[in-house]
Symmetry: C2
Subunit: 872 residues, 2 copies
Amino acid sequence: MADQVFTFDVPTEIDKTVLGGKGCSLMQMSNIGLDVPPFFVIPCQTCVHYMENQSWPVDYEAKIWAALKKIEDATGRKFGDSAKPLLLSVRSGARVSMPGMMDTVLNLGLNDESVEGLAKDSGNERFAWDAYRRFIQMYGDVVLGVPHKNFEHILEGLKKKYSAAQDTDLSAEHLKECVAEYRAMVKKTINEEFPKDPKDQLIRAINAVFDSWTNERAVYYRNMHSIDHRWGTAVNVQSMVFGNLGQTSGTGVGFTRDPATGEKMIYGEFLPNAQGEDVVAGIRTPIKISDMESVGGVWPGVYKQLCDNYDKLEAFYKDMVDLEFTVQDGKLYMLQARVGKRTAAAMVRIAAEMVKEGMITEKEALLRQEPNKIGELLHKTFDPKAVRNVVATGLPASPGAGVGRVEFTAADAEARFNAGEPAILVRAETSPRISSVTMSQGILTARGGCSSHAAVVARGMGKCCVAGCSAVEVDEEAEQMKINGKVFKRGDWLSLDGSTGEVIEGQLATIAPVFSENFNLILQWADKYRQLDIRTNADTPADAKQAVAFGAQGIGLTRTEHMFFEHDRIYSMREMIVSETAEQRKAALAKLLPFQRDDFIGMFKALEGRPANIRLLDPPLHEFVSQEMDFAPLIKATGKSEEELRAFVDSLAEANPMLGFRGCRLGMVYPEISRMQARAIMEAAAEVQATGLEVHPEIMIPVLNHVNEMEAMRKLVADECEKVLAEKNIKVDYHIGTMIELPRACITADKIAEHAEYFSFGTNDLTQTTTGISRDDYNKFMPVYLDKSVYPFDFFQRIDTEGVGELMKMAVQKGRTTRPGMKIGICGEQTGQESVFFCQQIGLTYISCSPFRVPGARVSAAQAALLYPREQ
Amino acid sequence: MADQVFTFDVPTEIDKTVLGGKGCSLMQMSNIGLDVPPFFVIPCQTCVHYMENQSWPVDYEAKIWAALKKIEDATGRKFGDSAKPLLLSVRSGARVSMPGMMDTVLNLGLNDESVEGLAKDSGNERFAWDAYRRFIQMYGDVVLGVPHKNFEHILEGLKKKYSAAQDTDLSAEHLKECVAEYRAMVKKTINEEFPKDPKDQLIRAINAVFDSWTNERAVYYRNMHSIDHRWGTAVNVQSMVFGNLGQTSGTGVGFTRDPATGEKMIYGEFLPNAQGEDVVAGIRTPIKISDMESVGGVWPGVYKQLCDNYDKLEAFYKDMVDLEFTVQDGKLYMLQARVGKRTAAAMVRIAAEMVKEGMITEKEALLRQEPNKIGELLHKTFDPKAVRNVVATGLPASPGAGVGRVEFTAADAEARFNAGEPAILVRAETSPRISSVTMSQGILTARGGCSSHAAVVARGMGKCCVAGCSAVEVDEEAEQMKINGKVFKRGDWLSLDGSTGEVIEGQLATIAPVFSENFNLILQWADKYRQLDIRTNADTPADAKQAVAFGAQGIGLTRTEHMFFEHDRIYSMREMIVSETAEQRKAALAKLLPFQRDDFIGMFKALEGRPANIRLLDPPLHEFVSQEMDFAPLIKATGKSEEELRAFVDSLAEANPMLGFRGCRLGMVYPEISRMQARAIMEAAAEVQATGLEVHPEIMIPVLNHVNEMEAMRKLVADECEKVLAEKNIKVDYHIGTMIELPRACITADKIAEHAEYFSFGTNDLTQTTTGISRDDYNKFMPVYLDKSVYPFDFFQRIDTEGVGELMKMAVQKGRTTRPGMKIGICGEQTGQESVFFCQQIGLTYISCSPFRVPGARVSAAQAALLYPREQ
């Protein structure tokens, strides 16, 4: 594959792993009869070959020239020609989109001869020299490594010299002077002439695109998005068309539906007499495509053609299409078409409406959902009743409600985030660091449109963005901005409404989200197809209620220890901890019992008959005490001296608490603790059952290692449960199971299952022990590991199927040997799509996650069932 | 089986799992024609039945009476008879010996009628009433649960009343009075008459022996010795014979060889006119059996018979036999014979000499060795006759006998050594300077376990160490410590027993070790048969030399970090740690390089051509610094303020250092550290090779998780090695492998083996991660777990074959799929017999242990090869 070149005239299999996304898009548009400038594609495999060998495959150059010849023939132009020169664009295009991460060169093929040809041919000398100037600047920056600011400096100097307000105010002569200065500066900077031979230009540009695959921001982006570093990028070489040949030319970008709301419409923007980068860079503010008709001239005709193309593209892609086009002298050329990025709201609406339109099936609609974006639909919006002090309005580039303190640099925004404070990142014109977008509550830019880099990145991450807000004047040096005369300094509060584009002074109040009809439809379809149950991790009745509202089918994990931190309970807890005898311990536990019982009553009521998996006390006891705590209540309760108590607290310290005296080890040594908890659960169950509600408590033994622990703990807990039921003379449907969170438990799961009625994977601890990585400490090396792709991803964000997953598989298989069909869940918050797919594949019964992840998990589970169906 | 009774007259298969040890011994003696009093055996299975059902099997009582009838017939006596009464002993006898743990009843069958018959028959009224008294006392205690002191109280009262100095001074009349008082007291205490019916007596005695299987001390003993609680005990019911019928009667115990030295001789003691318990109680001083001839009377004849029996027993058992006998009216009865317990010296000598005598084969001699006792032959030991004033007990971290004067700092201990006096170094918690260990007679630490740095270093040097002795409270400032309230000052004498963990006040007398000719023979045979190689864990040339002397075939683990604690190196190490840039780090490392190189030169020389597996830096960097260290050198070297440095030291702290920034993670983030170590190894190899010695360095990557780490580290290390070799223009046979100490590494061993040339299991860390147990913290729950048999044994003392072992098996199997026949060792000090057997079974290449464990490991490995032979 590496030694091939794919040309526009030969039908080729549409394979993104070969042609890359952009290459496929060109081939496809060609196939469905749209006008596309002639092109050829250098496949990703050639880039891989280049990375490995720092050279091209044997005889590859000849193949490039042959492909070039085809473009020359189709366009009737010649590369480097002084009459009708062929100009090329050279663009990256990886298997998955990495917007703005890699390099592009335009207008390639210009030199002192061909610029004359271009001038003659276009009849526009100024245009030709401007193209030449742009080419030198771009090529100098991207291929030759000449700093961007060197060019800007010269250009600004000339504008000042000739009192030009805009670039467009410079004449052909001025631009010739600019080109001369550019070339002199390049030579001085890199000690080499700017390359004149167009073939030389092309070879070096291709290599520069290859190299840009491994530039710093591209590597960072791939790490963020778990993209394989070994894929490489394709290179698309295409005949240039110009949108800046005058008022019958122009360029634009569009979507077949509104990417923010999902509404079906002719959506998009165009700029007359402009090149593509002018739209993206956001220097001039564009016109809506839907307003094209009213512009007159060639535009109503172009508009009709565009509408037609919109229909053709949607019919072909059966999805919302993101497209780019250029109009050259009244003729429309399609430059790119691909399935477009969209907000969560648009994702849901488009899918649901396309089902209603009969364009796709329910299953296809479900498979198109990005479950991790669904969370956006659950997040807050501004309180409609709150009074908005709107200071300016920009473009609604990415929806959401962002509230934070103003910062003007990525570094400052990240620092504020790390300090635990919300930041709003404000930039004049921006290619923001992705990390700074992640770490900000919202992005505000003075220039750029909805297609600017900042907007695209923000939408991808579900961050709110207001773009092109021209009222904003940033003074980075003074660390402040002016909006319509009003000064905002670093740290001032600001609120952004990404759905309206409003910039609001201060901290605006927010409210909980509303579920749209389309969203409910998607969730209903998800429930119809999924095979995994979805439960929630919840420690309070409020959480449980929220999760039930989001569709949770029960509780997958209640951490009882969190309950002991509340109010005065912590004092009784501490009294229990410092007890010297079982009697003292029982006395302190007796004080905790009513609190625990009340906790569980609240949980059972909130669940309205759904099952609740309750984990017995898990953390080491020293987590409940510290040298900094108030010793007075404890001194009073125990009669011990502060010195004694402090010494005792010290004695509880552990070298590795994660592997210490915790989980069922506590119950094995202090059985009275587990008895109190079992009693509280069953007394609560009895009380709630008496009100007519069903209760299904599941009692879970944590940190289990050995079947003997399971047998002993089961006996202990069941004994106490039966005692309570005998006292109350009732029956309750309860079960006793265990958390599988140690490798040894996985390995001996068949034995453990003899005494455990169900399993629940604790993937956090299981990952910590299997990989020997403490999540509390891994920041010291994990960033380096991810940067260098030593680990393919963070095992705490996604199940390490090759390592941890093997143990999980073993546990499922062994557990069900002795207890066929046993219920097995997972409660480690591993609800990323890949993790859910894995859970489906190994046959889990349910997954459990925090309430706000429940809707996303329902959708992931449906996708898992569609992709990896199993008999049930 | 449970419903059977085995009688003396029916030949029965000798099976300890049925008859128990004592039952087998009776049957066997019977079989080879020795005179044994008639008996029957109730098998272990009946005890198990009784434990499970609290009743006997159906019709079992009738079988007991039938068996009893056979004894009556053989002896011509009748149970409960008033003329010639049959008296019985009822004894426990489990599958393995549990000396003194369970109950015994003697003289059973006596009541007010049969005591008269015994008096008549023996012609000795006093003897009969004394037997009756003893029976009531023993039966009352064991079967009826009457406190022993109640009987003692009555007996003492009568002795006072009749001015009797000894029990023997009491007349028949006095004993009648005693019996009457005993019975009245029994009735008062338990509100029940002492049982008169002999059959009733027997049934209850049998049940009492059954019950004694589950008494507290028996359970404790079984936990201590890893004996299965489900086995139950057999019950041996036997006709009584009396050694206390006068001067032609007596009782004795003997060994067919000297159990302390192993010398072949007629070894043993006897007491004329005495019962067995008189010998054990030590009230009268017995006579040597070898002196029997000179006693005259019946004794020379008995002696001749005994010598004959010694020969018969050794010929039958083909081992040293431990025997008991009683002479009644001049007739010798054998009561017990079993393979006898012996010291390490005797174990070696007996086995070697029996081979020379043609009695057993070399293989049998090897299989009889207890490898864990072999260590006793390598260390100075305490004189067993010396009286021990034990003040506390800690963990037996390194065997040996240490006697010296207490010192609290390394410097003071060294000073005392230099002054020619022995020191015992006492530390609260310690990373001792290696030199201070060398210069001390023993190490005592208040905290830390058997894997603590102090313990590892001490074992490596054959120095005794008692660790984790929590009773020790060190007050370094006051230069004293308190042990259970008692104060020890600097210079006070202290003795440490590293084999028991005992801390002994004063100077206990010691005896020196000898490497006997027989011991050397055993070791030669071991080498002849074993298939596992034996290597050593050694961090210093002295250790390596010692291990080679003990037969080590190379180094299985060198921990390079210990080298950094020595002398001034620690300052450069700290300088490296606080470096902010790679350049600073390299500068500090450059200072360490010559030291490391010298270390390795020493090691390679000591090994004389044997391979050395060297582990790259493993512990987290914070182990090399502390807030208590001297900051002055660091301030000087770095120019930083103390405040900055202290803050940096704080920033290194980890929540779970065991799972933190350590092992290869250090090399992945700071490659210059691994490069320095690789360079030091290869420069040392080059230098030593130049002297004509072979060198075979193996460089081991620690804490490996993922194949990508292996690939990257291998590349890094190999690159530096090749650089050195190129500089020196030589070749060195070196290999790069990895430690397998994380579950994930086991699971993905096939991938890792693509880049690792060998594996070495680090079973300590592998056990910690697999079981989620931190060895530093497990003292809080492990004692309870072992007491309750929750875990069958301590997984750090013996490989957890069911859990950790499964992962090891997986790693071996997977590793050799991609790298057939790859070298795989283990360096976790798991050299217990069962662990070595497991290593043999899963196909390891070698095991590695501290120098003083090498000889024992050679023997274990030979046993493993004999029991689980494999093709090689």
